[in-house]
Symmetry: D2
């Protein structure tokens, strides 16, 4: 069944008749809807969001032709932004990392056991340390030095490595700032894990900030990267309880587990076409 | 908007075309779909479940006529079990309780502040202790003694009090067994809170059982009552962490909070037509 | 046993021999230690914190004499800040509230059933609305208008009502700012519940802030009030998961449950002498 | 500081004077107590449990001599069961595994990064599949076939491999029953991860059992292995929320994360001498 699975993601102005138009079109063309989730934002005028899984085995058209027909008959009349993606066309994911290996290893490990539906095409790092970890899993590793004076050259080199075929860039504890120009090349296609419960403790060394404030709960956040640091649309967050007994290093250890969980979930949801960005927020059909 | 809200709940054999048939019918009659959630069970042949919220303001038929038209045009061809309920027709809820007041007070308190969309019509207890708690909130209280020798008479009296208009019976720590005959009068319309993480620690004094086993997490369970004790379809569960420092009495205190939460959520979801029973399990569109 | 329970709370510069000095002193005077928890802060020079429960039934001195002996023999040599409190001398608690009743009701309800070891002596509000809720539980209610122009008079009246015998002031959603002068009268003896996961969303209308930021988890915080708004030592926090489906009003509903839990825990821990303030943080021996 | 850290674990009949005796003895010999946690069971006669961290840098005796002196002066008079362990003497841990790699990889990964204070000495499996995973981390791997007809020979071979120097055996999803004779060789020194929230769903295929029962929360349990299957003292449990949307395979995926967390915590706590077994329960000074 998974071989014939396709996912339709839609965002459009809310108005009556959307579900009827979509489902009637699909039914008429032999698509079987196996899952459907929707949401209407509460502000006025509202925005409508839908995620729909369908089986393509009984289609009367090739998928590309169906796209054309859908565009003409449904998407344009309703002014939809939309994608229709075959699940078998797995997204191509590149992972950027510095020295901390936990987020990288979690992704590679889940990917290898088939829990992460994507192709991990390469790992890029500003340090050589994790070459073995990547290559041991059969993933090409590229060392691209990066820093205050070399950012421009580094990003140029990385863009060359990423090329035109990379669908998603994951910053798995990549400790360098990425420039607005770099971000603009992958709009809502760069996911970062921030090691705090954003918007608390944005910026540097969040576990130390959290320890200094004496919070009783720490967190981690996976979000899309935008031009403004630590301020992009949040995809997932998770938290863990701490107490006065926990030193900064304990917070880091507890945080590593949280970071692993949120980045793995965020990447899975993105790769399964479950996330729609709306302004600075996300709709996640998880 | 809430004034014109109606909820359609559906369960039927899974097959292509269900969404198209329902949404096209509703659109044709002027109903605006504002929320839609669905699920297909994975066994073969599958079962289809749907919850749909619609606005009735633009309907071209009265709701009762729409029901008839829907039955003929959609429900019968697809062999659906279904209900279409106006949210403004709030369910009539009776609460049975013994001496522990926490579940009762939580329900009454949430109801009074408008968080529980129902009418609490009466409180029945086998002890007189909580008369003040109920009547203080303006809810009639009935003391009906119950026990080993008086069960038959007690249940007859309670059935008389409940009458034909009670939609839901909530056992908010009602410490008497209800007979299969009583249960049969309210199929999937009696909700009980069990003070453990079922199926662990079914039966009497679950907090003592949990303490004796040395578990590190305790729980509470809200479920529909069936003829078999503590084995009905689970609606909601929640858990809390405990350690060797917690005595049985501490487990009871922690458990009271869990019981309050799960019973309040389960009653709210039932009253908002979010729960469909399927075999011994529930589909909860929460 | 509870009748003879006393709690010793200690904070002093860390150095070898503290436990031996305390436990030998207590053993020599017939006190039986039934619980002991301690913590040493990691910074250098370190600070030592201890909470110790003891049974006074076998004491060879009256408690007041024991205090004097302890001061001379142990506390002064180790430069301790300390209290030794009989559990039976329950703290006298006043609750300040505006219109939201959930935090107040939770405290009153837990207090009435014996889960909150204190005396609730009065409820003060800047609105008359909750007089019935307080008086229905047998607690005196005082309406003291407060606002931009009347703060000085209001606080003078409240200080008069609180008098010299109030041990703890709880701001259970009291929506007025309290002046530094008022705070100074109750150092580390005013507990506030803030409706966010501090330090995120300090200030006004935090649930709307959280909704606008698109967080996936909301929280509530109980903290001691200091001169700086929303910045005092955190005692307890709790969180709940939200999604794009939750409107601001839903966040408020979920948040009410979190607020109830954190304020109840914080007040209980304070009343059981489990909290020691250290700088802007707390040590909580929970 | 860690180089000079030692941990004292004590269990004895409860009575006055224990803390004073221990702390005075240690102070007199130059040991600096840096952490102390204790617990008294509530049954009568009670049992006393203590975990104490001390710095050995200022000791006036070698550690082995201190043990002898402590035994004579304190342990025997109070009838203590006790251990005094140098943290630098890391426990030797062998991991038994079948085909599922997640628990094994989590342990190896945490161990390699220094989060698991032990020596992983070998991995033994009844399948050859995970040889690369172990040896890639530099850990010897032994394939010992095991099954209904070969249990006796398999266990003999494993006991030979484990030898006399193995401190802890971890069953990281080892899908073979271990005999009472094998268990008796490592009393309270075999930790198993069970893939359910015990005591619910003991026995085979717990995720399928959980799915069939329609629970809303699934769990995992780490416990010491005793002669009775799935009934030994529980060290740690954790849970995750599920719904009707989750198929058995989803429960397994969610469960893998829970299993990883509970086994890693249980092994860390055991290796840090934080766990004392009492009857069929544990005291965990975490």
């Amino acid at each position: 069944m998974h071989q014939n699975l396709a996912v339709l993601l839609i965002k459009c102005p809310d108005r009556p008749g959307i579900v009827a138009a979509i489902s009637s079109f699909l039914f008429a063309h032999g698509a079987n809807i196996t899952d459907l989730d929707q949401h209407s934002s509460e502000e006025a005028p509202g925005t409508y969001f839908m995620r729909l899984e369908l089986q393509t085995g009984g289609l009367d058209l090739a998928l590309q032709e169906l796209r054309g027909a859908f565009d003409a008959a449904v998407a344009r009349p309703f002014a939809m932004e939309w994608t229709l993606t075959r699940a078998a066309d797995r997204k191509r994911v590149a992972i950027l990392v510095s020295r901390h290996d936990h987020a990288l290893l979690e992704l590679l490990w889940e990917w290898r056991r088939g829990d992460l539906p994507c192709e991990v095409t390469q790992v890029i790092s500003n340090h050589p340390d994790l070459a073995g970890a990547a290559e041991g899993m059969g993933v090409p590793f590229h060392h691209v030095e990066n820093g205050r004076g070399t950012r421009e050259a580094a990003e140029a080199r990385m863009l060359e490595l990423l090329g035109a075929s990379t669908d998603l860039v994951v910053l798995a504890r990549y400790m360098q700032i990425v420039s607005p120009g770099f971000v603009a090349r992958f709009p809502h296609r760069i996911i970062n894990v921030h090691h705090s419960f954003l918007p608390a403790f944005a910026g540097a060394d969040p576990y130390r900030q959290a320890w200094a404030r004496g919070v009783k709960i720490v967190g981690a956040t996976a979000h899309y990267v935008t031009a403004e640091l630590d301020a992009g649309p949040i995809i997932e967050q998770d938290v863990g309880r701490v107490s006065h007994r926990h030193a900064v290093e304990d917070l880091r250890r507890i945080g590593r587990d949280l970071e692993r969980r949120v980045i793995a979930r965020a990447v899975r949801w993105h790769c399964e076409d479950r996330v729609i960005v709306h302004g600075n927020k996300t709709v996640v059909f998880a």
